[in-house]
């Protein structure tokens, strides 16, 4: 088997560029969705804020001030080809070193504490990132990079349903989740829903679902229909932009599924705020 060698410098440089890009530029399809929401919105405050969001997206890369002061936890889904050898330290170390360097260069807010319960002392450099590694066939490295803010993450939920649960039950759970979240999650939202797997897998599916391109439909028709139904129900709550009333509570709903145990039907809902900052790079 032929192996491809990738230097840690290559990964560092590609990753640093990616983090810099998403700090100032959101998902490329987000502005069109916000404009569409603005055209359909009737809530005065929601319209006013949607306009500010569009201005913010235009301004951030020009003046190099982050889209949001919460540049979040850096989450990386790494798919490493089985014919690819990384020369240098293990990938999580490369990612953390790059994150520390970039946080300093870009003056990012340090938003990570060392211990979640005791002292809560800030690490001062945004490390560690949260890294999920899987091995795939091939000789490339795919990195899905996500800057995930704390407000929307805090309002995410998981429930271990059982097989008698219906699509309607799942829909109600999602609507309940966004209702409880209100303005805390910084709507309009992108809603990631993980269905299946087990306790930890459905949470990962929900996070990964958020990263699906916004214009890409779910490949399974039944789930595409369910996504649309959930989106309509969520927007019918009247919560609106930032919880201040209107038709725009979510811009997209993405479902990702996995096989699961005969006794189970795990469901996780991961909320993404409108500051949807992610990118995929292939090395």
């Amino acid at each position: 088997m032929a192996y491809r060698y990738v230097s840690c410098e290559t990964i560092e440089s590609e990753l640093a560029n990616a983090i810099k890009y998403i700090t100032f530029t959101p998902d490329p399809e987000l502005p069109a969705l916000l404009k569409n929401a603005l055209a359909n919105e009737t809530g005065e405050i929601s319209k006013d804020i949607l306009n500010c969001m569009l201005k913010n997206i235009e301004l951030a890369p020009k003046i190099e001030i982050p889209l949001c002061q919460d540049t979040g936890t850096l989450v990386v889904f790494a798919e490493i080809g089985n014919q690819c050898i990384i020369e240098g330290p293990p990938l999580p170390e490369i990612i953390n070193e790059t994150l520390i360097k970039v946080s300093k260069e870009l003056y990012l807010r340090p938003s990570i504490v060392k211990d979640p319960l005791l002292q809560r002392e800030n690490t001062g450099n945004n490390a560690p990132a949260i890294v999920h590694i899987s091995i795939i066939k091939g000789d490339t490295i795919k990195l899905q990079i996500d800057q995930k803010g704390g407000g929307a993450e805090n309002m995410s939920r998981l429930q271990m349903f059982t097989p008698s649960a219906s699509s309607e039950d799942i829909k109600n759970f999602v609507v309940e989740t966004v209702t409880l979240a209100g303005g805390n999650a910084c709507p309009p939202l992108i809603i990631g829903i993980g269905i299946g797997g087990n306790f930890e897998t459905c949470a990962l599916l929900a996070k990964k679902a958020i990263l699906r391109p916004l214009s890409k439909k779910n490949p399974l028709k039944e789930y595409a229909v369910l996504e649309q139904e959930i989106l309509e129900s969520v927007n019918a709550t009247g919560i609106g932009v930032q919880g201040l009333g209107g038709k725009t509570n979510a811009l997209a709903v993405h479902i990702l599924t996995a096989p699961c145990h005969i006794a189970s039907l795990p469901v996780a809902v991961n909320l993404q705020c409108h500051s949807h900052r992610h990118i995929e790079i292939i090395i």
Binding site: F24, E44, I45, D48, I49, C52, M53, K55, N56, L59, A60, I63, E64, I65, P66, L67, C68, Q69, D70, T71, Y107, L108, R109, P110, S111, R120, N122, G124, G149, G150, G151, N154, G182, G183, N184, C186, V241, Q242, G243, L244, G245, C273, H274, S275
Partner: protein, 167 residues
Amino acid sequence: MKIYRYTLPLCPADISQLNISDKVLLSGCLFTARDAAHKRMVEIIQRGEKLPLDLAETTLFYCGPSPARPGNVCGAIGPTTSSRMDVYTPILIQNGLRVMIGKGERSLEVQKAIMDFGAVYFIMSGGISAYLSQHIVSCETFLWQELGPEAIYKLWVKDIPVYVHSK
């Protein structure tokens, strides 16, 4: 939607003129405080000591700014979720606080304290930091620098947009 311009600190007459959902452009001085600063303020009050800031004159902004680049007035600035401060807010209101800015809903206890004491809670939109930076005149660390982004910063703002949530 009615739009008003006010200079901080707000007096009781200013607050009484406001209605829910009004848009207000605020100018003047804001003090940032997040979870850690709130915890310290409440501990000081509970020990019977004097706070290093006069709550009656203070507009509290739930915010942890990012550091400014050299030559810039400020870094990225925006509200954090207010409900995390709910456990501390009633005691601050009882000790003079009248004006708060953040995002999201408040607990029933906080809403009651807001009504009982004639306070006001404004919502500012999250996730528009570059836009808001255009309304920041200056930003300096005021207290507890060791808390990093959770320190209390003093911000001078000009026409920063907020919406009346409860009063």
